[in-house]
Amino acid sequence: MAPKKNSAKRPQPSTPKPSAPARIVKVQSSDGHILQADVRALLLSSTLAATIKGYDDENKPLEKLEVNNVVGFTLKLVLEWCEKHKEDDPAIAQAEKDKKNIFIPSWDRHFLTKLPMGNLFDLITAAYHLDITGLINYGCKTVANSAKGKSTEEMRELFGIPEPWEQPSTSTATWDD
């Protein structure tokens, strides 16, 4: 009989590393919604990290962070992404920024491709305001991937570009991916 895949000899998944207790902070969106997030997740945003550091330096209690340029729906998505990536090394995202090509991990691919294009644009705009390099990289790459293989007409429809323009006469107009 063939041995079971989950036999006792199989290496067990390693236990998660003991980490410091989560420090939860309230985050308020521009439209007044209050969400909760782990500080480690918020540190992925350079903008929020600077604010948090300012509070810590002055030993002020941090009760609520206000994010004035992101609405609740988008902020929820941003926090969901940050929560998933709170253990990531920020240097990796910085290094990926200069790469020619990056691989989007499956969780992120699933998370980003499920979003309608409008929400994806909202998300990358929020990531840009909050300066979250990893989310900008993956978000923009997802936008670029969605345009791959699309004709000019399809691209105009996908991105909601209203202004029609006369096609140039060169053969480049007919290329396909």
Binding site: H33, N101, G118, D122, C140, A144, A147, M155, E163, T170
Partner: protein
């Protein structure tokens, strides 16, 4: 009611009047570890969207309808049936305004967001960030969508690993002109043109676009005189400055073309590889006047028939205090060059061995020019290397070259031993004295 809410209602009214369908988004958690699944529902107003109001979310469609009808009649606005029956215009507007006014407690996080952006709402920085991950062909199609996108795509340079224009390429069964390139996302494209007129119609404008907007790592230009002339005329008309790191022009030795391209290269140019076999003295003089040529860190010339060019290069390296790693490589008769170097730079020779491996002192004490050579297949010619090295080094740092796989086999073993032996030194004064003498 706030002006924003009013605007939103007007927009909804306008949208439904035009017959366009508004979409709604419903979020639903699947598992703790999985991202939220987003569903798109195509309907004008969704009754299925869960709200934070527990009373409303538990109601069925019919119950909700009853409740809305009650609210409407309480406010003297009729019913939903009236609305469906075509009572439109101002009354419909008032109904919608009233509905929005009474729904202030709805948690918008769980309802349809009205904040959708499209591409046009993105900042130029974000658009450029997205374009960074697009292939060249995708960018060209995006460029054709609107005037704004055309300007934006053109303003963001695209990196090319290589761009090559070649005639009678290896994999062509018939005579043809090939334009090939590898773009920023490593996508390779090979375009073949059977007829020169086809190339001039489609290929040459594309090449001009690539040269105008691309940052090219390696540009290999190998097309015949007549076609090349027409192509360069087109480039000249468009007044294009090239951003090329390495320029190769080996198979077709037309010095004029080399000069034209080098004259239009910016300061990015680091490497130049070309064959000046037919070059006249005047051409070389023009070459030495070009800033891009003088700034290039590596110059490789095949068959150099004017030995004074080698001496002029040495002079230039000395007078410009060339950086360590700067190299001039060329094929020439061994003894002609060696004799000339000894004749004109004798007082600067700081090291020399039995095989004429020499080192020339520069005006700065920390570096020197190493004159090295390798034997080739030819009886009369060797490959010379004039390399700026650190003052205490007597070995040239080998460059990593794609075509160098077999070159080591051509060097006899004794030469390596000879080079590394210090017993063969003929003349080696103290390097620190060199700067004093100059």
């Amino acid at each position: 009611m706030t002006p924003e809410n009013k605007k939103s209602i007007l927009q909804q009214h306008k949208t439904s009047a035009n017959g366009r369908i508004k979409s709604s988004i419903v979020t639903k958690a699947i598992a703790p570890n999985a991202p939220s699944e987003i569903f798109r529902k195509d309907e004008i107003i969704s009754h299925d969207a869960p709200t934070s109001d527990p009373m409303i979310s538990k109601l069925s469609g019919r119950e909700l309808k009853k409740m809305i009808n009650k609210e409407l009649s309480d406010h003297g606005l009729g019913s939903l049936n009236m609305m469906n029956a075509g009572v439109g215009g101002e009354l419909k507007m008032r109904i919608l305004e009233k509905l929005l006014a009474v729904s202030t407690n709805v948690d918008r996080i769980h309802s349809r967001p009205n904040y959708d952006k499209d591409w046009n709402d993105l900042s130029e920085e974000l658009k450029a960030e997205c374009m960074k991950w697009m292939s060249f062909r995708t960018r060209l199609r995006l460029r054709q969508t609107s005037k704004t996108e055309k300007q934006l795509v053109d303003s963001v340079p695209i990196n090319f690993k290589f761009v090559k224009v070649d005639q009678n390429a290896r994999y062509c069964y018939e005579k043809c002109i090939e334009l090939s390139f590898q773009d920023n996302v490593n996508q390779e494209t090979y375009l073949k043109y059977k007829d020169p007129s086809d190339f001039m119609k489609d290929g040459a404008p594309l090449l001009a676009y690539i040269l105008k907007h691309g940052k090219i790592d390696e540009f290999d230009y190998e097309i015949s005189d007549e076609l090349s002339c027409m192509t360069l005329e087109l480039l000249e008309r468009k007044n294009i400055k090239f951003c090329i790191r390495k320029f190769s022009h080996i198979d077709i030795n037309n010095f004029k073309e080399t000069l034209f391209i080098l004259a239009n290269c910016d300061e990015t140019l680091e490497e130049i590889v070309f064959d000046p076999e037919n070059g006249e003295e005047e051409d070389f003089k023009r070459l030495f006047m070009l800033p891009a040529f003088n700034k290039a860190k590596f110059v490789r010339m095949w068959t150099l028939k004017h030995p004074w060019v080698a001496l002029a290069t040495l002079e230039r390296y000395i007078h410009t205090d060339a950086e360590i790693g700067t190299e001039f490589e060329f094929n020439a008769d061994k003894m002609t060059i060696v004799d000339l170097v000894i004749k004109y730079f004798e007082d600067r020779i700081v090291y020399q061995n039995g095989d004429f491996l020499m080192k020339i002192g520069m005006n700065v004490a920390d570096r020197a020019i190493l004159i090295d050579h390798e034997y080739t297949d030819s009886f009369s010619e060797v490959t010379f290397y004039f390399t700026v090295v650190s003052a205490d080094s007597v070995r040239r740092v080998e460059r990593i070259r794609a075509d160098s796989s077999s070159s080591d086999d051509l060097i006899p073993d004794f030469k390596r031993i000879f080079k590394e032996s210090s017993d063969d030194e003929i003349y080696k004064p103290n390097v620190s004295n060199v700067s004093n003498r100059n």
